[in-house]
């Protein structure tokens, strides 16, 4: 383990994770909104927002899958030191981190079972760009219209068809994040 892996965590874990969770909660509850987070300094190419989400939500009880572009020794060490999350294959993961192309095909990830739809993966997708320009969204948490820039529409439509099963997604870019629960319906472009 390199010494760099030991830095970049929360300085004041209980307060910083509380603020980060509120942003993550609002993001997941209001698809199409973008939230600013801070406090983590993970190794490149992981974004600050992805680092914050992992520090806030992952621990030794949440197996994590790293996509190919994130599966680097520095990142493995950083996650292991700060969270203790076991690094696993996509099928066994409760959380996954990567660029969209790393995580394909997304049907490898757990979508829960019909009686326990909560036993599903949460994907943290690194985006080159994150904006509210993109396909229209509708569903719980959305009043009127919302839209969000998407890595790919078809996969999220397929995911919605499994409802109430399905994976949930955070899109991250730099210090910003947006949530995309399985309940969101992605309209035609």
């Amino acid at each position: 383990m390199t010494p760099e892996a030991l830095s970049g965590g929360f300085r004041d874990a209980s307060i910083q994770s509380a603020r980060a969770f509120r942003a993550a909660l609002e993001a997941m509850a209001r698809p199409g909104t973008i939230w600013q987070v801070e406090g983590a300094a993970p190794p490149a190419p992981m974004s600050v927002a992805s680092g914050v989400l992992i520090l806030t939500l992952c621990d030794g009880t949440t197996p994590l899958h790293l996509g190919a572009s994130m599966d680097l020794p520095m990142i493995r060490d950083w996650i292991t030191f700060h969270t203790g999350a076991p690094l696993v294959a996509a099928e066994a993961a409760r959380f996954a981190l990567g660029h969209w192309q790393d995580l394909m095909p997304v049907n490898r990830f757990a979508i829960g079972t019909p009686d326990y739809p909560d036993r599903s993966a949460t994907l943290i997708v690194e985006m080159p760009d994150l904006s509210t320009a993109g396909p229209q969204l509708s569903g719980p948490g959305i009043k009127g219209n919302a839209s969000l820039s998407f890595p790919e529409v078809a996969a999220f439509r397929a995911n919605r068809r499994h409802f109430p099963q399905g994976f949930d997604t955070y899109l991250t870019c730099d210090t910003r994040l947006a949530g995309l629960p399985r309940s969101t319906i992605v309209e035609d472009v």
Binding site: A18, D115, P140, P181, R182
Partner: protein, 289 residues
Amino acid sequence: MNDYNFAYLDEQTKRMIRRAILKGIAIPGYQVPFASREMPMPYGWGTGGVQVTAACLVPEDRLKVIDQGADDTTNAVSIRRFFQRTAGVAVTEATAEATVIQTRHRIPETPLSEGQILVYQVPIPEPLRFLEPRETETRKMHELEEYGLIHVKLYEDIARHGQIATSYAYPVKVEGRYVMDPSPIPKFDNPKLADNPAIQLFGAGREQRIYALPPHTSAVSLDFEDHPFVASKADHACDLCAAEASYLDEVITDDQGSRMFVCSDTDFCQSRRAAGHVGRLGHPATGDQ
């Protein structure tokens, strides 16, 4: 407050609760199991709501706690003090000023707004529990959307009483999928569940379940075409503030059968009286409240 971790719970526990809350938000109305902790208060005093509130609080929050609408009853006062001591957050009794509101069995009369979180204390989260005691069976019923039994229950109300007699914990169907127990709020409050701009979180400590309604989510009270849902209340105006559209408590005032009706939402009633509204038994507010 430095004797405790922020908001009492340890970080590992808060992460576990936070993950459950997020899954609850993603599957509106579905009860997410969580590893409920022992809290320094007995079950039935809001241990589920307290854990959800603890997982959501940030130092900048302004917390309001109500018990049956009142800010000044034992349960509300003790939970409010608990978070003042363990999280150091500011508190308020004004609904509009609060960012997090923990509630036992009421939704405030003042409409909630975006950015607020309403945390419900839930005794029995399973709407089918009194119809089917086995968890294995109720889980299967939710899985298969097999909700006939709960309609039979409402039908039996009509057969026996001529109307749907269920007056609190009135079941709703969320986003056309899960039937959900809104906790024992009066059915008068049910219409406020739907399309609410605030985030609504439900915590059941003893039963170890968390569920949620994201903002602007549909929640339809179950009914029949010929017996539509009615959000009923006592047919009076508040005797203190003259409000006609707020939910009322009936208070017996002597042993001769005298009674008065007062708003159950104390903050709502107080602010109306301060604004000069005077009810049948009220007197103009003097500001010495």
